[in-house]
Symmetry: C2
Subunit: 421 residues, 2 copies
Amino acid sequence: MNIILLSGGSGKRLWPLSNSIRSKQFVRLLNHNGKYESMLQRVYRQILKIDPSANVVVATGQSQVNIIRNQLGKDIPICIEPSRRDTFPAIALASLYLRDKLNINETETVIVCPVDPYVDDSYFEGLYEISKIVNNNSLYLMGIEPSYPSEKFGYIIPATDEKVSEVLTFKEKPTKEKAKEYIKEGALWNSGVFAFKLNYIINRINRKYGYIQYSELLSGYDGLEKISFDYAVVEYEQRIKVMRYCGFWQDIGTWDSMTKVIPTNTIGSAILDESSTNSYIINNLNVPVIGVGCEDTVIVASQDGILVSNIESSETIKQYVENVEISPMIIEMEWGTQIILDNSKKCQTKKITINSDKCVSDYITDYYEESWTVLEGAGEIQMNNTSKKIGQGDVFKISKETKFSLFAQSVMTVISIGVWC
Amino acid sequence: MNIILLSGGSGKRLWPLSNSIRSKQFVRLLNHNGKYESMLQRVYRQILKIDPSANVVVATGQSQVNIIRNQLGKDIPICIEPSRRDTFPAIALASLYLRDKLNINETETVIVCPVDPYVDDSYFEGLYEISKIVNNNSLYLMGIEPSYPSEKFGYIIPATDEKVSEVLTFKEKPTKEKAKEYIKEGALWNSGVFAFKLNYIINRINRKYGYIQYSELLSGYDGLEKISFDYAVVEYEQRIKVMRYCGFWQDIGTWDSMTKVIPTNTIGSAILDESSTNSYIINNLNVPVIGVGCEDTVIVASQDGILVSNIESSETIKQYVENVEISPMIIEMEWGTQIILDNSKKCQTKKITINSDKCVSDYITDYYEESWTVLEGAGEIQMNNTSKKIGQGDVFKISKETKFSLFAQSVMTVISIGVWC
């Protein structure tokens, strides 16, 4: 099957693990065989488990490219939206990417899926089933059997309670009372999945933008009208089908929901005393966090800041995070990570980790001179047309506007001190 | 007057602002005209306000010398105990220091005072009064009028309720019920102050150790029996007087008591939302701390770690801090501060601040080579018998076993990267 993973989001609600670059889907807190993975990594792993030959393309903006490659590998196809134009242009661009860049046949199925549902594998088995039954003129959705009368989701009212049913109608995010009524009528949560044949969407694209190639849509992308897929396509569709999913489903958008799926009450260097109840410490720092007498509290510490929140109130943190204007202190790059250790007026000290067999390429210091000290690991640098082996304790300077690249033969950690010119 | 300030303590209960070097009396959170001062700085300032010609000597161990000079200036007399031998040897050594080093006449009064009472200026006015009325054979104490039946203090039962009274008897730390009884009898808290003529203590020293000079007691100090001043002196004294203090008095040994005297609910980069009640954020880091829906909570963040504690339970943190074996990440030196930014297996990255007109002298890197990058400020280094001006952006290496010194003409900040040989 061919899957477009829509990856957006600003990541204010999982602060300080999420930041303006690391949206919630990139936060690595989900347990998989004793290792931590992100929502993106989990969804990608689940898709390939159900269909090892699936073509997955991630539709996103430029700011997420590095972290996606860091988490899924450098070969993951990424369709980069030059600007945010809502879901119809994004899906259109990714669909043309599938056809024109990945040479997917127009008779194949495309499934558009948000990148952040926390679900059982059976969810992706459902998507796989859908991919087999979609025909030329049909649009399929995925409906989630509601576990409570949520006010946060749109609802789909199916015609029958069969696994696959016609859709009778859609309902906007309701009040709690309305939600209860809908659920009595057999309503499902709209999970944001769309499945169709590739030629189905090409047809809609051609109608809207004229016959167009991927590269053409890309170059004119900034000028496109902002319009959602629901508004551009779903509203005009007479025959929509929905598949019912009744397994575990969680929208992990807040610390409240995240604490329901993380494996332990403490992650990282943390002590929670015995008098604490229903509390969590998630600590990404090297120094300890101690919680004493905490009740219904989530404590999260990272290089970007520290949150202490009542679990149920954690949804409200967004407004405070928005008032805190700091640039991210930890950034995941395609080749590793950068942590800002110190920001002075005219200097910046960073700890840089370059993963084994990765290359920091075309690194140019535009604005300042940097001196790098190798803490651990070994590699080879290319600078000014010469190549040199470097290892622990070595120091080298990168002058302004020098282009250089560093290939790490083993995991390298480096302290970089940049002095502004 | 002559005052011996006893400065000890391990600083577990105000973690993470206190650590194995920075005991509670060095934590700078007390407001004085909009600036933060430590307990030590406050007490010292109060003493000099009442008696500008007071001779103050701090009795302490080697580990506190740097931070005391950092906070009180390099000229503050410090009597350094080579090891911990309880209060009688400490007071004996400091008394001989007064006589032999500071040339104080034996007929003058000495007042021994713990370094950490949070009191009004009138407390020190009381000490000044005592210094005027002590005679050759009298021992004076300071009693605090109790504000509640505490189980944490010893009690003094005075003969009368006059400002200065004979002591009838002493009572060990009581139960709450016993404390109530004592208070009905007019008991006072024992504040740990002792006042006497210098020849009074010299007399006791000679009786115990023979006629001895400061330098002799110092060199034999490690072999002295551990014995408290109460046990060695007070128990044998027939006529003890106590002065009554009825002003504000707080023993700031826990976050519970500290939050009662700090000026605001948030210190440093911190946001406490409107739904939070009776909560405090004290943040020494450069990244923000956000508290949402906190109740009766104290949140403290420093380079050494993060504490989130119910205020009333904050006394219990000691046991958890003891289980966290990390060396201090922030150290106050005589000349400034050192913050460890990163500890790797074979490298350490520090941010060093050297205060204006201060000198990092006789700095020898025994174990590793260091490279220093100047972030801000200007100064002059002496190394290998040469002298050189340095400023922003300059980098210099200090090789193993090289002796060097750096004088800061303005506040200098430096990043030091040490590589272990």
